[in-house]
């Protein structure tokens, strides 16, 4: 078992005729083929005005609605450039797509406020934007992460960042801890799916027996997650917070990674997580070990 991405997932790429969109569609298709040789998981793409064309074997449609109709897509991977990306996400919501994974970095924040309004009135789930995507190792990936670093297993991995997620997956893999599903939720101020949403999904997923969450400075999502863990999560949880040395008022790459008005610091987040019983790694080199420790603690 796993969350979000399963054997039933059928994906189209919005922005498939762009360079990054096509490249990652090809890579994701390769990975899915290795895992499920008899099935086409990646069933096409959408670029308005280019319907009827083909992109390396992917049929291209004018609209998401058409792709749903013709190839039965229920998930979308979004590579549309920032000025048009919110509109593309809303198009998928409008077409009833269940899982929308937005990789695009640099969407204006108020555009995401608009998206959030539409999301709330729908049954769609948005992951991201500005994220590496979602992978269920051994089944499929929707995103830009290298497939081979994620081993199948029982750890549900949630992270705000890209390469730091790879680092965590790598450390977990080296300790024999594969992942049920790994989700990059994105480093923007407004994102479709929060730590809490995923904690709930992993808690309820029989295929997940431990959870690792990787946060960073800015906002209070990790503090809210800590409160949720304390009252709702029974599975062992390990964590790490990036940006312990970041100064206030400076944006650390991600649009959301900024300490403002003395709140959103790594220290307050680590403290909240520890108070909720989470094993928090102090050094990024110890993320895997922290997970191991959390699991051992629970068994002991």
């Amino acid at each position: 078992m796993s969350i979000l991405v399963t054997e039933k997932t059928r994906v189209i790429t919005q922005g498939i005729t762009g360079k990054a969109g096509l490249f990652h569609s090809q890579k994701s298709r390769e990975y899915a083929k290795e895992c499920q040789p008899d099935v086409d998981v990646f069933v096409g793409g959408v670029t308005p005005g280019k319907g009827g064309q083909e992109a390396d074997g992917f049929p291209v449609f004018n609209s998401v609605a058409e792709a749903v109709d013709k190839v039965g897509a229920n998930a979308s991977m979004v590579f549309v450039p920032p000025p048009f990306c919110a509109d593309a996400i809303i198009e998928s919501i409008d077409a009833g797509i269940e899982l929308i994974v937005a990789i695009t970095e640099g969407i204006p924040t108020l555009d995401m406020v608009r998206v959030a309004e539409y999301l709330e009135r729908s049954n769609s789930r948005l992951i991201g934007p500005n994220c590496p995507g979602v992978i269920t190792p051994g089944v499929a990936k929707i995103g830009i992460m290298p497939g081979y670093i994620h081993k199948p297993g029982g750890v549900g991995l949630i992270s705000k960042s890209g390469t730091l997620t790879y680092e965590a997956a790598w450390q977990l893999g080296n300790l024999g801890l594969g992942q049920s599903t790994a989700v990059g939720i994105g480093g923007d101020p407004i994102i479709g799916t929060s730590f809490i949403d995923l904690l709930e999904m992993f808690e309820n997923d029989p295929g997940t027996d431990a959870i690792m969450m990787i946060g960073e400075i800015g906002g209070n999502a990790e503090v809210l997650a800590a409160e949720y863990i304390k009252s709702h999560v029974t599975k062992p949880v390990a964590g790490f917070i990036a940006g312990q040395t970041a100064p206030p008022g400076k944006r650390m790459g991600h649009a959301g990674a900024i300490i403002s008005g003395g709140s959103g610091t790594a220290a307050e987040k680590m403290e909240a997580l520890e108070a909720a019983g989470v094993v928090v790694a102090k050094s990024p080199a110890d993320m895997g070990k922290a997970m191991q420790e959390a699991i051992a603690k629970r068994k002991g």
């Binding site: 680092e167 312990q244 990024p284």
Partner: protein, 395 residues
Amino acid sequence: MKIHEYQAKQLLKAAGVTVPEGIVAKTPDEAAAAFEQLGGSLAVVKSQIHAGGRGKGRFKEHPEQAGVVLVRSAAEARENAERMLGSTLVTIQTGEEGKQVNTLLIEEGLDIASELYLGVIVDRAAGGVVVMMSSEGGTEIEKVAHETPEKILTASVLPGFGLQAAQARRLAYQLGLDANALASAQAFLPKLVQFFVDNDCTQVEINPLVVTGDGQFVALDAKVGFDDNALFRHKQFLELRDLNEEDESEVRAADAGLSYVKLDGSIGCLVNGAGLAMSTMDLIKYHGGEPANFLDVGGGANVEQVTEAFRIILADENVKAVLVNIFGGIMKCDVIVEALLAAYDQVGFTVPLVVRLEGTNVEKAREMLSASGKDIIPATDLTDAAKKVVGSISA
């Protein structure tokens, strides 16, 4: 992107938000002329820098001089301007080095009945826009929020609809305003929220927002920030950028497509990905070192970018060693090493360079590194890398 108070007030005024009469002065003569032109018996001279705490701030060159002063004559305006212009203002937000004041805003004095706080920001958790108000104007709002959270009033706004009259009314009643001020609030608040939405702001803070003796709302101060990601549809704001307010090396990095933040330590870092870059700084600190910077080369770094990144890192005199930390995913390790080696030759390293690589094609990349014959210290994992780079300085 941040702008100056005087720029923010010009934009707000154009949007129909009431601000005090004010004139920008860049010389003492202009400051004196501005006082005459305003025509009152009292004016305020305000230093224009991108940092708060100016009223309590003092100048390095003139320790008695405040960053914001009341003046009662043209001569007094001139004397103050002489001390302020070209001098360095140190406030609680500028750090010890302070900021040079090149521009002053001279404003009319107001008949102030009360001071309120008003802020509009993006509410991350709710995925919306939120208006915050408080009767505790002029003070640090973070302190109010922390000590007396019940004194912060909020209203959620849907950007497509703006602040509703009922919300403005409710806030005004909760603030205990009289009938005159209530009418003013209902005109002022929706306009300010509309300004936030129309211009893709990340923050609009009016602190204090004053209520005058005759019940008018006036924005006595204005702090406005724009969403960098939305500047493509507000290109006119790019002209408001003041490069004097920005770190030179950060501007240079941004031009090269790099995300760089200068810090005070001695170990330079070059990393791919923002989260890993932050973590690398933490790692260095954890092992007793101090990071000199945050630097994310992004997902598709090429030779030019890596070269520029090294140059920016090494231009910082405090840097005594450099740590490269790459987790190659889609960007393969061997491609990064190729860029590293080419950049190494172009830059000319005089400090120790520790390289930690992991991920796609790492074996090939490590071989390339050792075969290069260059004085590069390879590290096997994160902890090894941190120990080696910290050790290279203390040794």
